[in-house]
Symmetry: C2
Subunit: 106 residues, 2 copies
Amino acid sequence: MPDAKPYYAVIFTSERTEIDDGYDAAAERMVELAAEQPGFLGVESVRQDGTGITVSYWESEEAIRNWKRHVKHLEAQRLGRERWYRRFRVRVARVEREYSLEVPSK
Amino acid sequence: MPDAKPYYAVIFTSERTEIDDGYDAAAERMVELAAEQPGFLGVESVRQDGTGITVSYWESEEAIRNWKRHVKHLEAQRLGRERWYRRFRVRVARVEREYSLEVPSK
């Protein structure tokens, strides 16, 4: 999409603690809730051996700020800091260009 | 790092075929080779059930272009298209801001 409208990616990389305590259900709920927010474009998430990368896509920085401040998301963020994550990093990045390949036959 | 120099993230999301055929060794070699390139800042990579997210970080778009054109990388890209990936998407994004948490005690 060379001339598409610019959009934003939130790159969330994390390392989990050993504490489960509702993590999976909360993570799933947050994805569902994020998808309902204005300006949400999509999300991709992978976890392997306690290391996770989640990238969510948004129409604008304002949409990202609003989601960050959502009351249910704030509660999940608090539990994340207190229980679920050993460390994490959040990067907000503007997507400048992209390309893709799809091979339906493979 | 609110006032740090801006840098770039390459978000590579992919779905693998069933074909192994040297994939793991090639992927490992590409990470090693990328790390030797000028302007390389780091890489994070996670794969789960055939879905992968790799994010590499670079000082500039020029560094990204140079790595994209590296002769050994071009060969790996060809094999990726022909054998290893059912689909993939590459997004080049400028990191606007970031924050992180580290809990050494957990």
